[in-house]
C-alpha cells in the first residue's frame, strides 16, 4: 500500500472543498491548481476527480452550474455551499489538531 496515496485519498474531499471555497472553479482548473499549489506533489488520474466532485455535490457540500464562455465552450463551475464551508472548517480544525499531535509525538521521539 502506498502511504502517500492513501493519505491523499483520505483528504481529497477536504482539498477540493478548500480550492472551491477560494473561488468558483471547474474540473480542469482544479487539477491544475492542485498540482501548482502542491508543487507537483498531488498528481492523480484526472478522471478520479469527477466522482469526488459528484459525491460532494450529492452531499450538498458544493453546487454546480453550467456556464457558457464567450467562445461558446461550456464549463461546469462548482460553488461551495454553507454546509460545505462548515464541514471544511471542521475538517481543517481536526487536521490542524492531528498534525500538531503527530508533530509533538514524532519530535519527542527524536529528542
Amino acid at each position: 500500500m502506498n502511504y502517500g496515496r492513501e493519505l491523499l485519498k483520505g483528504n481529497t474531499d477536504s482539498l477540493l472543498l478548500c480550492l472551491i471555497s477560494r473561488q468558483p472553479t471547474y474540473g480542469y482548473q482544479i487539477v491544475k491548481e492542485l498540482e501548482k499549489r502542491s508543487n507537483g506533489y498531488f498528481q492523480f488520474k484526472e478522471g478520479t476527480l469527477y466522482p469526488a466532485l459528484h459525491r460532494l455535490e450529492r452531499d450538498n457540500l458544493i453546487t454546480a452550474k453550467w456556464q457558457i464562455l464567450p467562445n461558446g465552450q461550456q464549463r461546469r463551475y462548482y460553488y461551495i455551499t454553507e454546509r460545505g464551508q462548515q464541514v471544511l472548517a471542521n475538517r481543517l480544525a481536526t487536521w490542524q489538531d492531528f498534525s500538531t499531535a503527530v508533530k509533538a509525538v514524532t519530535q519527542a521521539e527524536t529528542i
Binding site: 474540473g27 480542469y28 488520474k45 484526472e46 478522471g47
Partner: protein, 297 residues
Amino acid sequence: MGSNISHYLNKFKACLKIDQTIRDGVAEELYAHLEDKSRELEENGLSKEEASEIAVQSLGSPELIAQQIYETHAQGSWKEALFSALPHFLVALLFTSYYWQNVVYVSIILALTVGIAIYGWHRGKPIWLFPWLGYYLMPVVVTGILLLSLPQGWGWIAALIYIPLALFVFIHIVRQTARRDWLYASLMLAPMLVTFSWFSSLGTGSELLANDWMASLQTNALWIVISFIALAAATIAFIRLKPRRHKIMSLLIPPLVILFSVTMASRGNIDYWGWLILLFALSAFAIPVWMQARAYQ
C-alpha cells in the same frame, strides 16, 4: 470532436447505467476537460491526434470513472430505501392482519400506490419509485388474467379490447425503466414475480377464483408475509448498496426465500404446471445476473 475523445466518451456512456440526463451531463463535463487538456498540449507543440491521445490517457479508465460515478448516483439514502420498501411492507401488513379481504383497505392501498407511482413517474423517476411502479402495474396484469377467466365468449372480448391496451402500458413502462437501467426494471417486476409464484403454487386456471383457493391463501398468509418481508429487505439492500454486482446479488434474496416458503407452505404438493410457472417466475430474478455476466464479456 477527435476520434480518440469520441471513442472514450462513447465507452464511458456505455458503461454508465444511470439516468440519461445525468449521464449526458457528466459526459459533457469530461468532454470539456478533454478539450481543455488537448488545447493546452497542442499549444505546447503536439499534433491534434497526439494531444487527444494523451488527454484521454490522463483522464484514466472510462470504465473506472463510470463505476465510481455510478456508485455516487446509484446509492439511495436510508429514507429512500425505506420508502422503496414501504409498498412491500404494506402488502405484508394486508396479509398479516387479513386486511386483504377488506375492500376498503385494499382500495386505499391501491389508490395510494397509483398516486405515488404517477407522482414519481412525472418527477424524474427517483430511485424509490420502481417498487411502487411494480404494484401499480400489478392490477393491470391481474385484471387481464381475471378477464380471461370469464365464461366463454367474454374472455375473447377482454382479450381483444383490454389486453392490447394493457400490454401497451406495460411494455411502455418496462421499456422506459429499462432504458434508464435494466436493474430498476428487475426491481420493478419483482413484486409481480412474487405474486405469480404464489398464484401458481396455490392453483392455476379456473381454480384462481374458487373459494378453496381463497381459503388456501388465508392458510398460507404467514409464508406470503415472509416472502414480501424478504422482498422489502432485498429492496432496502438494493437501494443502499453501492457496487452494481452487490445490487444484483441482493435481487437473488427473494427467490430463495419464496422457493423455501412455497415449498414449506404446500409441503411440496404443487402440480406440474404450478412448478413450471413457479420456476419460470423465479428464474426471471436471475435475468440481471445473466445480463451482467454478458456485459462483462
